[in-house]
Symmetry: C2
Subunit: 594 residues, 2 copies
């Protein structure tokens, strides 16, 4: 199996050199997060991911989860790994210190998340879902709920889930049917069936806290009649010890394409006792707070898997001797040259590299803005950051999972037939990554969110949070000769994005189907321009290190930026043409003719 090493050098680059991570400590609440605290955290995270989680990735995929008498057994080694993970404090890093968390900046946490996803995405699902539940309760629960549940979710002795989907509704939650009846004691009785519940049942923790969307008896129809409830597997006593088993059970687990070691459960709620989280009928709002952080995390899943795939592919391309360089043998002493001499193999590896490092920078930028949104003393700065994060969330989710899927497939392709064999683990990255394009809102839904909500939000104010820095950068660098080969293609792509934005806004206003048909092209165009901007900025940082670059790290940055501009950014032209062609051929096709 391909091994995984956390790309700490590049992580430190985006954190400290691109995003000025050392300034984090100047934000209220982050005072202690200086570099000498952050660096050891990253190194420890790398260790646990490389040594504890990654060795279970392949075996977890082979074994999968099993359901017997309503109990789910995770694959061999997962329980022990979870204990190590929990005892190491990793469930607590991104949580509020009030409840035992470590309050790690998001800028650092995204890096840890990437390592976990790269090492073992299935494993990462369990603490990931717990964190989603934590966010919902922390953001919307009352003090009693918070005091009782949060310390356990934070220290990882209890896990959590998000129960949204039902058999007849996924994207369209307005259709959901699960019912909540008041029990007269301030709690509710929930009845209904939820599907696709990740970590719905498992053997990693003593209790599982379900966050469940359901309808109260007086609920308005549709999306405005949904409330959020907390339903524990075991009802805790006031002291936190476990009380009675609640009426919630796992009816089945799904057999899936990938993330096989993550239990995806059908959950039956049968007169289960639950507590309201937030206000009645305002469940979607509470859920969206959670969903936005989750969407960033899902984007990072794509990146993590793509990074793991890249590492495997590079190792193979160095070791596998096959064929000779087109320009003549490079290693005449060996029976053949390594794959790495072949231009088409390099092309694949460089696509992986350029999209991975670009996405890492994009995640870092978004996380940095999240830190500003949550911790900056100036409300104007907080607002700007919030606008930026809202705008970029669908892009991070969809772009990074689409590019991640493409990258994991390139990793298989570099391996040839050996990539298709399960043994090497390369095809697992593809299967595991595929779900990330679907869950937490399909990538098509992300695109609609971008064109339908985010573009128009606050009269385009959000949009300016991206457009302004790019414009300013292009202006500042217009005369910079060393940067010209990067700035010129970026400027061209940026014009396309500006024109496409105007077109989508104008045409979409007249006919929403125009925006709908353009959405996916537009999101990718936007995302590729964002990566282009980040590549230009990374190259700018790297160019300042000429002559001070013993291991060639900065030279490689500039070279990858060049590759991105040459070989990937041109896609924006095709996306622009497709988008400008409008919705006619999409909507004009007769329904019966499909």
């Amino acid at each position: 199996m391909a091994s995984y090493r956390a790309p700490l050098r590049d992580m430190r680059f985006v954190l400290y050199e691109l995003m000025n991570g050392e300034s984090l400590a100047s934000l209220p609440g982050y005072e202690e997060f200086t570099r000498d605290l952050i660096d050891p955290i990253l190194e420890e995270a790398a260790k646990v991911c490389e040594q504890v989680l990654h060795p279970l990735n392949r075996s977890g995929d082979e074994e999968g989860c099993t359901l017997e008498n309503g109990e789910v057994r995770t694959p061999k080694g997962f329980r022990e790994a979870y204990t190590t993970f929990r005892e190491g404090g990793w469930t607590a890093i991104a949580c509020d210190p009030t409840y035992g968390g470590q309050g790690l900046p998001k800028s650092v946490n995204v890096l840890v998340e990437e390592m976990i996803c790269a090492a073992n995405l299935s494993f990462g699902m369990y603490p990931g879902l717990s964190h989603g539940a934590y966010v919902s309760v922390h953001g919307h629960g009352d003090d009693a709920l918070k005091d009782l549940y949060l310390p356990k979710l934070v220290d990882g002795t209890w896990a959590g889930t998000m129960c949204l989907t039902e058999p007849h509704c996924g994207t369209d939650l307005g259709l959901l049917r699960t019912k909540a009846q008041p029990r007269g004691d301030g709690s509710y009785s929930l009845t209904g069936t939820k599907i696709f519940i990740s970590a719905g049942e498992h053997d990693l923790t003593e209790n599982i806290v379900h966050l469940v969307l359901a309808r109260l008896p007086d609920a308005p129809k549709g999306i405005k009649g949904i409330s959020l409830f907390l339903v524990p597997k075991f009802i805790p006593n006031p002291d936190g010890s476990l009380g009675a088993r609640n009426g919630v059970s796992c009816g089945a687990i799904e057999h899936k394409m990938g993330i096989k070691a993550s239990a995806t459960c059908v959950m039956n709620f049968d007169d289960a006792q639950g507590w309201l989280v937030g206000e009645p009928h305002k469940g979607m709002r509470a859920m969206f707070a959670m969903m936005n952080t989750e969407r960033l995390s899902v984007g990072i899943q794509g990146l993590g898997l793509a990074e793991a795939s890249y590492q495997g592919a590079v190792t193979y391309a160095r070791e596998r001797l096959q064929g000779r360089a087109l320009t003549g043998a490079k290693h005449p002493d060996k029976p053949a040259d390594p794959l790495l001499v072949h231009p088409d193999v390099r092309r694949m590896l460089l696509i992986q590299r350029a999209t991975n490092e670009g996405c890492r920078a994009l995640a870092a930028w978004t996380a940095h803005q999240l830190d500003l949104q949550n911790h900056h003393p100036d409300p104007a700065v907080r607002q700007e950051a919030e606008d930026f994060v809202a705008l970029m969330t669908p892009i991070v989710k969809a772009l990074m999972t689409d590019l991640g899927f493409e990258a994991t497939n390139l990793g298989v392709q570099v391996f040839g037939g050996h990539g298709y064999i399960r043994e090497h683990g390369m095809e697992q990255y593809v299967r595991d990554c595929r779900i990330a394009q679907i869950y937490e809102g399909t990538n098509g839904i992300q695109a609609l969110d971008l064109v339908g909500r985010k573009l128009a939000a606050n009269a385009g104010r959000s949009l300016r949070r991206f457009f302004h820095p790019v414009s300013a950068f292009l202006e500042a660098k217009g005369e910079d000769e060393a940067m010209a080969e990067l700035v010129q293609p970026l400027a061209k792509a940026f014009v396309r994005l500006q024109q496409a934005t105007a077109q989508v806004a104008r045409a979409g206003l007249a006919n929403p189907d125009e925006a709908g048909a353009a959405a996916t092209d537009y999101l990718r165009l936007f995302g590729l321009v964002a990566l282009g901007y980040l590549w230009a900025r990374m190259a700018e940082v790297a160019l300042a290190h000429e002559g001070d670059d013993p291991d060639g790290f900065y030279r490689a940055k500039v070279a990858t930026a060049r590759f991105y501009m040459d070989k990937i950014l041109p896609q924006t032209g095709a996306l622009f043409s497709s988008l400008m062609a409008g919705a006619g051929s999409v909507m004009g096709f007769e329904e019966e003719a499909f």
Copy 2:
């Protein structure tokens, strides 16, 4: 599980209306293949694929093959299905009547192949490999070998394999080590290990005939020292009855991402008796004859799976109610509108449709030329057809499997979370399709074949077999107003292809790495232009049926052509830019920096 219906209407369209299939009967040897013979063959093939093969597709994937004491058991039902298939004469359709075959034109056979791949690719591998062995023996074996083996391969009582790959060499067969020693009786003793041998061992037939690449003792090094041998599992007596077990055995079967019901074997040859096929040291030539037909077949695998995926996705998009049309509820009486109202869902379905029907036309065109190559009385026509087929083979293989993989993934995406669940069969199409981009020469190798061999072949004569008809068509349609919306984008893309061709030829001559780095972009650019040309031609045929189109078939053709030009062909612009940027950023990246 999604059901599959053979797309007979569209198959007849490409065969008779686009490619003038009724003229086949004017070719010597094809006299009997008039429409009233062909149509029932297609209908019977559809029946066996829909009713016998497709019902075993999902169960075959779940169960896979098992190896016990050197014997491979295929999944439940495969033996019975194979008997039905064989008794129906389906193993014989594309074979020489001299040996019991039915001599079906390739133009018809590709359609049957598509149905088999769509219905059950794993099953199709067994007769598919047998046919590869048949082609090799038929083309290069002496009369004794042909008389003894071909009737059994044709009637399907024996199966065949192609044994090329070894653990240390796949693409680079020059490295292979399997040895063949003369035994003094005209036969040879083979010793060595082959891997990735599809259908290497199974329980469908009483005997298996391995076609094996090996080295004779006096063989020159590398690719010019490889000979082809026939090694049967049981050595037949002169009357065709089975004699002694030969020294060939299955050491292991691979656990793979997909095509799990197809046994992929490690085959050990231990003093196995074999017979030379063709001349000593000329094995690669014999193998390439087989490989070229196989490459077309692999392209068709991509198409078949993509068609099956499209059908599943359309059915789901009609049935699944989720959300409301962006322009207001289309079915206010129902709890939600069907997915089909959503522009982004339509976009995905139309990409599938446009690439599938385009690829079907491309396969039909190539098959038609193969029929001319093999049966036309005029040697000049035969030569032209041969040039065309040689040129298009790598494009058919790589383009159709790449587009097929993209299409099967879109099928999953239309299903959302339900697509990721094994139950619906949509994710299986993705896993099964993934291998088609790899085997019979990875798609990167196809691209190198195109730019390295086919472009330059015969001073560009092959190239003109494609360029001339496209030029002529564009010229003829330049003033046709009804066609303008299709012809104009095609003309633009064709100019890109011409310029890219000149660039690849020129730069590649100076530096082979330039051609190597451009190869994948170039192949796709070429392929998309080819589909664009075929879409314009299909629309031309369809437009002639205005007012004579009761079920809207022709209207849908024109509408799909429009979609192709609007939304897919623009990719040629991005490919052109990437290609014109040259190899600098690919080859300039330092080896150590990966």
